[in-house]
Symmetry: C2
Subunit: 213 residues, 2 copies
DNA sequence: CCTACCGATCGGTAGG
DNA sequence: CCTACCGATCGGTAGG
């Protein structure tokens, strides 16, 4: 399986040479992402996260100001890690490429990053609706920026005459996002590579699942 | 806008003539569904639900054994209300109908019921991952039964030679479910009728969004 | 990064 | 269906 995009490896994981507190911070975030994903925002206590990280409850506050701040960091990264990969995949495509080919590359990058940073991405998707209002308001903007990236790709395809007449571009945008993100709920890692799934979903959404008559 | 399926009106809403405690029970469920959808399972307290319903905290236990039992009732109905409508839409289609037409009718029924019982359906989708383990185990079976209904429709289409070669039927099943359920997160009720959305999503998934070349 | 602690809130119950 | 209450847990803080 060859990586198809120019995106380099995953996230902002600090090197072994990084200061201890930076590595500890990343460990906290990893456990927080995993627990928020599995149990939700409210059911995950700072004590749970501290214990998983190997520290005492109050010590989390040495690294984060509040439970909200910790969760927001996790959830923002759940979007940012995917968005960065998708943007660099788009940037790696030569000028003048068929907009549908760009969309396919973007879908592949989205699926790779989504499943590589699965706990962060899934924590973001699963917890978003149930997070305190002020935090949700900020996250909504981050989400909208990413969603608009897909809107732009689809509008480019429409302007290039590459979409079938009568397609609702807003419905198409969220159909893509919905079907891709839902793979977090059903993918069997042993059977389905992110690349293969991206190919299947691109095919369904753009070429259609029906046999041509 | 004409209703396309034979499904009759919504859910098990007790008549005005029903015993008071049955109507009260339904009121509790309605407020619980709305609050679980908006705030999540753990962040919604029985006190919140009781206050919204107009009673005192402890009185919920006259109608439900526990918070878990109340939430499970809401979430099971979030699936059941949709499943019943979809099954009756399928049953209303004449024998020998093109399997893709059956799927389109099922998608329309799913979208109608999903958005008519929006709080129940959305509470189910949003809270499922964060609910206590024993309850999640039971809900998983209910979900699987409904998901398999879509698997059957898709297999029927495959056997009839109505699917394009190389389509992964499992990916298609969850692509459909994912794109339909995600409409709960972005639909603008004033602009998008469930029927119109069902038509758009059917078109994307089966005919494809790309212009034929 | 730990100890020890506080006020608030929660699910649930007894008794009526 | 209400009142009054309990034990448990939580986010957060002071002081080191």
């Amino acid at each position: 399986m060859v990586r198809k995009t120019a995106a380099r490896r995953p996230p902002p994981r600090p090197a072994d040479s990084a200061p201890l507190h930076e590595r500890t911070r990343r460990t906290i975030l990893d456990h927080a992402a995993r627990l928020f994903r599995a149990r939700g925002y409210a059911s995950t206590s700072l004590r749970d996260i501290a214990t998983a990280t190997g520290m005492k409850a109050g010590s989390i506050y040495y690294h984060f100001d509040s439970k909200e701040a910790l969760a927001e960091t996790v959830m923002v990264q759940g979007i940012a890690l995917v968005e960065e990969r998708v943007r660099s995949a788009i940037a790696a495509v030569p000028e003048g490429t068929d907009p549908l080919v760009v969309i396919k590359a973007a879908m592949t990058a989205h699926m790779q990053a989504l499943h590589e940073s699965g706990d962060y991405a899934s924590a973001n998707i699963r917890c978003y609706s149930h997070v305190p209002d002020d935090m949700k308001k900020r996250l909504r903007k981050v989400r909208a920026t990413y969603d608009d990236l897909w809107g732009d790709l689809i509008e480019a395809a429409a302007r290039a005459g590459r979409l079938a007449p009568g397609i609702d571009t807003r419905a198409l945008r969220y159909a893509l996002i919905g079907m891709m993100n839902w793979t977090l709920e059903w993918r069997r890692p042993a059977d389905d590579s992110p690349d293969a799934l991206a190919g299947q979903l691109y095919r369904v959404a753009f070429e259609g699942a029906a046999r041509d008559e």
